[in-house]
Symmetry: C2
Subunit: 320 residues, 2 copies
């Protein structure tokens, strides 16, 4: 398909065009990749006008249910929402996040929402690169809120934090117990902490947990900066507290407007240099053969060759 | 100087040879750089046998005094210590960290210790690259403990964490107040937290602060993994508690031996790819001219060009 026609479709907000565009950027075929890059270049002027939210938390914290309830709240308020995912495990597990069609059922049927499963192939790096591009496509299609869902298993949170404006971490009411599996440093980096399942028999525990987190963060966090991370409670089942989460997001967006702009510039620069690294790695694999690059990498990893020396050798032989 | 002769001097533990070797790796002259890389390559088999400790904390927490007291304790116990620094501000401020010769006076005169000021030139990236190489030189010279001191202003802690086995964060007895200026996520990443100045009128406050941090970390940290971060107290003036800090470091080294080895492999790989990025950036600057690379970087930062598209263009025109 011609990138111009597809770009028109995306810009019109045509859901099928958006879905096809994302499939195109996920493709590994070289000709698809060229078309995808043309498409992205065409659409760049239409991107940027959303708030990008990472939603993270351990399995069992209720991410899908939260996103469904939160998402319905947003679309009812007139927003257009896109939900993407970073789940590098989806290949192995046969598609965990969003792969199950019964999840986020109401949101999937909502005409103001676009729910897309995680790319089912590739390494974390590969999945993250494509998710970053998918954010841009969703913005070009007029979605003004983009949620990137992650699985709570280490590096995918870091990747999500590197492409979003706000990091929302879901917590369980049993304070402290549920952090197993969350990478060190993530709690402290979150902009918004939401104790989920604050309903029924757990309401008291949720209150207690929120107070505990508030105290712990006040100890471990710098008091500087325009934004003090908020700790909220909600029930994704009853919907209680969801409005306050949406209000906090809006407050963040307003208060942090210039900080968000600066963060995006830094993220884009990091993106460029990480893509250059990928492009160089590919070019090295073609020109020097992948096995010898791996052999050098192994020498460095085992402490037999300094990284600086190995880097110079590889780059010099590549551009010779 | 011939790299072989200098390598011999370093291996013999000759302090002047070590100092000259570090000066060599800090030099930006192209011929010096070549010699430095030959030197490092020669010395690699003699590296790796130290525990690498990052020591961080805000200005005023007493890093120099702590390192002096801790260092004297280590050398008295038979260790050979090297103290390096990452202080990208030293150029601007005219040399803050270790630049003042009166600091760490006793340690500097200790024959079992080698104290080196931060390279006084360059960006954080440049300083960090040279510090990473200086660690290897110190190990080759027989130092079995290498301390990397950082200033508590943001990115230098991240750089130090990326080249050490253990992150030791110094805290003041006024719990919570002193974290201003420490980058978010650093407290949570620390392996060892030491409340300094636990003496005199502050002893009670230090006790209280340690208990508070212990509670906060138990809430915010995953309970998994072989190591639970310890919160200790010490006085760098009276020396009280310093022995316990040394014992905790030793316990960490033993308990985490295989985790440290794995961490070093990952750090070395990251080092390689970051050096490749630097080498590519330099090669691009030579082949494409630096202004046009900057122009593309700016287009990406402003959201006018996708990072993936820009990366491909730059790399393709470089290796054409």
């Amino acid at each position: 398909m011609e990138p111009d026609a597809l770009a028109d479709g995306v810009r019109r907000g045509d859901r099928r065009a958006l879905a096809r565009a994302i499939t195109l950027i996920e493709s590994r075929r070289e000709d698809h990749r060229r078309t995808a890059e043309d498409l992205l270049t065409l659409l760049m002027p239409a991107t940027g006008a959303s708030i990008r939210i990472a939603v993270s938390g351990v399995p069992g914290v209720g991410k899908s249910t939260f996103i469904e309830t939160f998402g319905r709240h947003l679309t009812a308020a007139g927003h257009r929402l896109a939900v993407l995912a970073i789940d590098p495990s989806s290949q192995r597990s046969g598609g965990s996040i969003l792969g199950d069609k019964t999840r986020m059922e109401a949101l999937s049927r909502d005409p103001a929402a676009f729910v897309r499963p995680s790319p089912a192939q590739g390494t974390l790096g590969g999945v993250a690169r494509r998710t970053r591009e998918a954010i841009l496509l969703c913005e070009a299609a007029g979605h003004d809120v983009v949620i990137v869902e992650t699985v709570g298993v280490g590096q995918s949170e870091i990747a999500a934090a590197g492409m979003t404006d706000l990091f929302l971490l879901l917590l369980l009411p049993g304070a402290g117990d549920e952090l197993q599996g969350i990478k060190r440093g993530i709690v402290e980096v979150a902009d918004l902490l939401v104790v989920n399942k604050a309903d029924g028999a757990m309401a008291g525990a949720a209150n207690h947990a929120a107070a505990e987190y508030r105290h712990a963060l006040s100890l471990l966090r710098s008091g500087t900066g325009a934004w003090t991370p908020e700790i909220l409670q909600c029930s994704s089942v009853t919907g209680e507290g969801i409005g306050k989460v949406a209000a906090a997001v809006e407050r963040y967006r307003t208060t942090m407007a210039s900080a968000i702009a600066e963060r995006r510039r830094a993220q884009a620069r990091d993106w460029l240099w990480s893509e250059i690294g990928e492009a160089v790695r590919e070019a090295m694999g073609r020109r020097l053969d992948a096995a010898s690059v791996s052999a050098v990498e192994c020498e460095v990893a085992e402490g037999r060759l300094p990284g600086s020396v190995a880097a110079r050798r590889l780059v010099e032989s590549m551009i010779k």
